[in-house]
């Protein structure tokens, strides 16, 4: 309630406003000439005519009623606009590179406003700035003094303004001293400074995912209220909050932290300090990392620099350096005069910086949630491992001091890679892969320490990075040639200077192989998650293979919903509807199986990974990989009914990936990638077991589950531990951990039968691990390029078969006349591998063999809802055979589907 005094004051002000209103007609017109520029690190920003481009853009201070006339010239290579949400604007056209456009903004109300480039997400790379509209007359704000009194502030009372933009998980700052000549860019995560008792106005603005801003030991008024606060929500989209403090009032000098108070953003590095010097100090701000600073090709090597990766749903460029395209071009053999000519980098996910510079990540091109997590780093590096407790929307910021190679991934999508080499300026022979001070070794998040960078394992990891992040290096069977080119760069390793290109390049003929001789039953649906089509921006199709003639029957792209990274599927009982997750989004699609048409696109939690039905009632269960539970949709319904938590209240989010359901429908079993355990949950709720995997090694990363048809055992593949955990199906007790790289020597790369199982076999980075419907075999698709077969009778490896790079998905379907095929998909190849687990049908699986291959590239006879425009047939992940022949499900098939199956296939484990 307003006090009498306040009411009187307001009336008096209202009268004064009326009296002086004619002056408003004489309001100022500000003519602002801006250019949009590309900065040395590839970020984009606005520059005030002739000055350097800055992030945030120049702050514009105007009075209510003023007009701002902006003339903008676009010197970048992208389309750029100028938009001020919240203020009246005429002109909103986006401008092509090289062109100029005018915009007129009317400052029709007081407040703080964001202007931005309206560039399809690229504005988050730096095309944003503040327009501060102050009341034309009287105080513009108030602060809370140390004695509790509220002191009105006029424009000329303010000693300093700080603009702090909250973008991704990074602050971008500017210092403005009203009496000073020029705005001072403070860049990323700066430490703004002031002297005790200075009147300091903070302008906090955000664009993109939401935040809360908190400044230690200071308090201020929530705009337009008498409420005293010290933390303020900035809602998703665009939001602003300006407030004034008297520096250090009531609390004294100090380095007072400011930060976003979302835990995931705190962990992602979103903080700085407000330095309040004692009276007599200089109150100087400490500038943060700059896009011009000490990075490869940086223009100001004496300042700390920053490189920026856009987090993207785009295949291969999941972490795309803001200058990735430019570096690829500059490094081509044809790039005459370029300092990088001939390096032939190919990947957009590699950056080079110098010690003390930083790496910035911004989730600007993705609809999913992610983490920014270090996978490996030079031994002894500071700030490592870099990680967050849960997946989120935002970004990340980390400063790197120790020379060597750092690889970052997303725990939710563990094939997303960014590599940063911090090059030691004192070594001249090449780029440093490890710290020269510690023998060039690296440490891995899985607990491996002091790994020589010349070791076979280190080289394999590098190969994986340069294949995964460069589609030019993928195995395109339709081209007939595999031409892998690694960068032509000298690298300093534990074994001396090497050139990857000399060491690793491959150029060999590729043959897609022949199709299986025996037919399968029905269809095989493959999530060709990276395939691009003309009618949509996001990647991914589903490729339907007809097992009668082993041809690609249909492509389902779903352009009308911009179908984004379809990852995994399951079908309803009568096999009429395919359920499909969009792993980089928050959607589940329901597709009519026969026509390939979209039935419904349903909003679910973030980064849904796998979907399965309950065999008992056909209800749908969806593992929400980016969150903390399983979504449930009742059979026949298109609305989520509930989320079943995967952990007790308040505990770390489990982030389940590839779950499985027991054949009797009583249990849901999840591999919990964030907590490194297997969870067993009652279908009707309740946590029955949580069993850690990985033998206490950190970061085992269980990713997919298979179960025996009688539910007696659970098999869980541990991606980063290269093991298969065997658990008791009813109690969840760990029975055995099968090592899949026991035969492998990480230093030399030699493979010998060290586990005495009679075969030389390895499975590096195992992913899907289904059990055959008859319970005889576990087939493990391993990203390192192997298919490993386990005999469930002994739980030993009996066979290792080759697979293409990025081997990922596996699932079983019926073989015509009896038996089963395992269909195995690969991300960085474009054919489907068909494994016959028992070719001679003797019930013994050690003769498991590859039955054939099917190209996943469309042909003229393929039915499709959109035209394939790139990466044909690539990105194989989830795979589903129709009809579903797993025990528990096969019994529910309609009669016409059962007709194609043998008696044994209809009842795979007998009565």
């Amino acid at each position: 309630m307003l006090s009498l005094r306040e009411s009187v004051t307001i009336i008096v002000f209202a009268v004064i406003t009326l009296l002086i209103s004619p002056f408003a007609l004489a309001a100022t017109t500000h003519n602002v000439t801006l250019t949009a520029e590309t900065l040395p690190n590839g970020q984009v920003g606005y520059a005030m005519a002739g000055n350097q481009a800055v992030i945030p853009g120049p702050a514009l201070f105007v009075k209510e009623g003023d007009t701002v006339h902006v003339s903008l010239t676009n010197n970048t290579s992208i389309k750029v606009g100028f938009k001020v949400p919240g203020l009246a604007q005429s002109g909103s056209r986006k401008i092509n590179p090289g062109k100029t456009e005018s915009y007129r903004i009317k400052a029709n109300k007081a407040g703080s406003f964001v202007y931005h480039g309206d560039s399809n997400g690229k504005e988050l790379l730096g095309l944003f700035g503040a327009i501060i509209v102050d009341k034309a007359h009287g105080p513009i704000d108030s602060y809370v003094d140390g004695d509790g009194s509220t002191i009105p502030v006029k424009a000329n009372d303010i000693d300093k303004h700080f603009v702090l933009f909250m973008v991704g998980s990074t602050f971008w700052g500017t210092e403005i001293i009203p009496s000073g000549a020029q705005q001072k860019p403070l860049w990323a995560n700066p430490n703004p400074g002031a002297v005790e008792n200075d009147i300091v106005r903070f302008h906090i603005l955000s664009i993109g995912p939401g935040h809360t801003f908190h400044l230690h030991a200071h308090r201020w008024l929530k705009t337009g209220t008498s409420e005293v606060i010290d933390t303020k929500l900035l809602e998703e989209g665009i939001d602003t909050h300006s407030f004034t403090v008297k520096a250090g009032t009531g609390v004294g000098p100090g380095n007072w932290q400011y930060h976003c108070h979302l835990i995931a953003h705190m962990e992602a590095g979103m903080h700085g300090s407000f330095i309040v010097d004692p009276v007599g100090g200089d109150g100087a701000s400490v500038v943060g990392a700059s896009p011009y600073g000490n990075i490869l090709l940086g223009t100001k090597p004496n300042e700390p620099g920053v490189v920026t990766f856009e987090v993207s749903d785009e295949p291969a460029s999941w972490f795309r350096s803001a200058r990735g395209d430019a570096i690829v071009e500059l490094s081509k053999p044809s790039a005459a005069g370029s300092p990088l000519q001939g390096a032939d980098i190919k990947t957009r996910s590699l950056e080079v910086i110098y010690p003390g510079s930083s790496v910035n990540f911004i989730m600007s091109d993705t609809n999913g949630v992610h983490t920014i997590s270090s996978l490996l780093w030079p031994t002894g590096a500071q700030h490592m491992p870099f990680d967050q407790t849960s997946a989120y929307r935002g970004g990340g910021f980390v400063t790197l001091h120790t020379p060597g190679l750092y690889v970052f991934t997303c725990k939710v999508h563990p094939f997303m890679f960014a590599a940063v080499i911090v090059d030691d300026p004192s070594t001249n022979d090449g780029l440093d892969l490890g710290n020269p001070q510690s023998n060039h070794t690296i440490d891995l998040v899985t607990g491996i320490k002091n790994l020589p960078t010349s070791s076979d394992l280190a080289v394999r990891l590098l190969k994986t990075f340069f294949i995964a992040t460069a589609p030019d290096n993928w195995q395109d069977y339709s081209s007939g040639q595999w031409n892998v080119k690694y960068p032509n760069l000298p690298l300093i390793t534990s074994g001396g200077v090497v050139n990857l290109s000399a060491l690793l390049n491959v150029n060999e003929a590729l043959s897609a192989g022949t199709v299986p001789q025996k037919r399968g039953v029905g269809e095989v649906w493959v999530n060709t998650q990276f395939e691009k089509t003309a009618g949509k921006y996001k990647p991914g199709t589903t490729t339907v293979v007809d097992t009668a003639n082993w041809t690609v029957k249909r492509k389902v792209a779903l352009p009308q919903i911009n179908n984004n990274n379809p990852h995994n599927m399951w079908s309803n009982r009568d096999q009429s509807v395919i359920y499909q997750t969009q792993w980089f989004d928050n959607k589940l699609s329901m597709i009519d199986r026969e026509s390939g048409k979209l039935l419904k696109n349903i909003t679910v939690g973030y980064s849904p990974s796998h979907v399965m039905t309950l065999p008992t009632n056909d209800n749908i269960t969806i593992a929400i990989n980016g969150e903390n539970g399983i979504y449930m949709i009742p059979a026949g319904k298109t609305k989520v009914e509930k989320m079943m938590p995967t952990q007790a209240h308040g505990h770390i989010s489990a982030n389940p990936h590839g779950h499985w359901i027991s054949a009797d429908g009583s249990k849901i079993v999840t591999p919990n990638i964030n907590t490194h355990d297997i969870g067993i949950y009652g279908t009707n709720g309740g946590i029955e077991a949580r069993t850690p995997t990985g033998n206490n090694a950190p970061g085992a990363h269980p990713i997919a589950i298979g179960m025996m048809p009688d539910s007696s055992k659970i098999y869980a593949a541990n991606l980063l531990h290269h093991t298969l955990s065997v658990l008791d199906g009813s109690t969840g007790t760990l029975l055995k951990t099968i090592e899949l790289i026991k035969d492998y020597d990480p230093l030399t790369g030699s493979i010998v039968d060290k586990d005495d199982n009679g075969v030389e076999a390895i499975g590096i980075l195992p992913i899907q691990s289904p059990v055959s419907p008859d319970g005889k075999a576990v087939v493990i698709a391993s990203m390192g390029g192997q298919i490993v077969i386990i005999d469930t009778a002994t739980d030993k490896i009996v066979k290792s078969l080759p697979c293409d790079p990025g081997c990922h998905g596996a699932n079983f379907g019926a073989k015509e006349g009896g038996g089963y095929y395992a269909y195995v998909t690969t991300k960085f190849g474009n054919r489907l591998t068909v494994v016959d687990i028992d070719p001679n049908g003797d019930g013994e699986i050690s003769d498991a063999a590859i039955a054939g291959y099917i190209s996943l590239v469309d042909t003229h006879s393929t039915a499709k809802d959109d035209m394939v425009s790139g990466l044909p047939g690539f990105g194989g992940q989830g795979v589903l055979a129709v009809p579903n022949v797993y025990n528990g499900w096969v019994q529910n098939l309609p009669a016409h589907w059962k007709e194609g199956l043998t008696t044994a296939q209809q009842n795979p484990i007998g009565d």
Partner: protein, 334 residues
Amino acid sequence: MLFKSDRAKCDTRLIENSDATPGVPQKSLIKRAAVALALTLSLSALAPISESFAAEHIIQLTAEETQDDGFGNKLLAYKMLSHRIDGLDITSRYSSEATIPGPTIELTEGDKVKISIENAISGNDIPVPGISKQVSIHVHGVHYDILSDGTLKVINKNFDEGAGAGLEETYVIYEYQWNVAPGTAGTWPYHDHNFETHNGAEHKGLFGAIIVNPVGVPSYDKEYVLYLGDDAFWGMEINGVSKIQSNHGVNPTLVATKNSNVRFHLIALGTDIHTFELKGYQWVDPGTANRINQVAIGPLEKHVFSVTAKNSTRYQDNNFSNRLLGMEGKFLVQ
């Protein structure tokens, strides 16, 4: 000059504790004393001259691990060891157990607080390079100098301000001083800032609240403190008459007498942004004359309102996944 003498005493105790821990540089302790003296003098100069209602609180908290979830996963929790106001022991108002949420500390504008933290987490005194074993109390809203920030030295540039082995220093007990100055009325969170990293363990159970009442505030029949986490509400209540704190836990059922005046204190935690609703009720948006029926609230924001209990209903979070997780509780009016 109260602060000065106690600050000195506090330093003496810290030095004693530190003597048992090799590797603590003596230099930093001397520096600490000097900084403390300078800060104390500057704070005293700012303190209001007349404080007829001011009370002095001496509070001791500890932090410990909770029982596990049945599968070996634990949370952390604060416990009230002792709370004296001007010598009067009011510890019995609090739970004798460590609770999530932690104790709610009621204060009045003008009060002074000395609050110390002990660390009962096993192994907390064994330093590990690169990992902090400390627990701390970082409070929002009230005044304190940089030595009571409750952060690690990498942040505050002075000390590892918590109990246990920090990144650089080890303390058995760390004491903070709060000046509940005029202008700090409101409900504010306190939380750990030092466990494992400089971000602390507020999302693992180490959080609580202070309620700073202005002098002469109306009393309420019940105070409900509700924290909006990433999968549930954590709550507790205070009886307005006896001041007894009870009903700690997840999505608590809140019971009120019909037509009684009750006050809700909302604080968000974790990573999610929420929309809170008390179905069928409206309240005054703090600091305004507006009546609202829902509020968007982000981590570590607070939102305080009172209602007259008329009808039973439920409180809930409308965040998409949290709604489906059943993040709600009953408000029973009897």
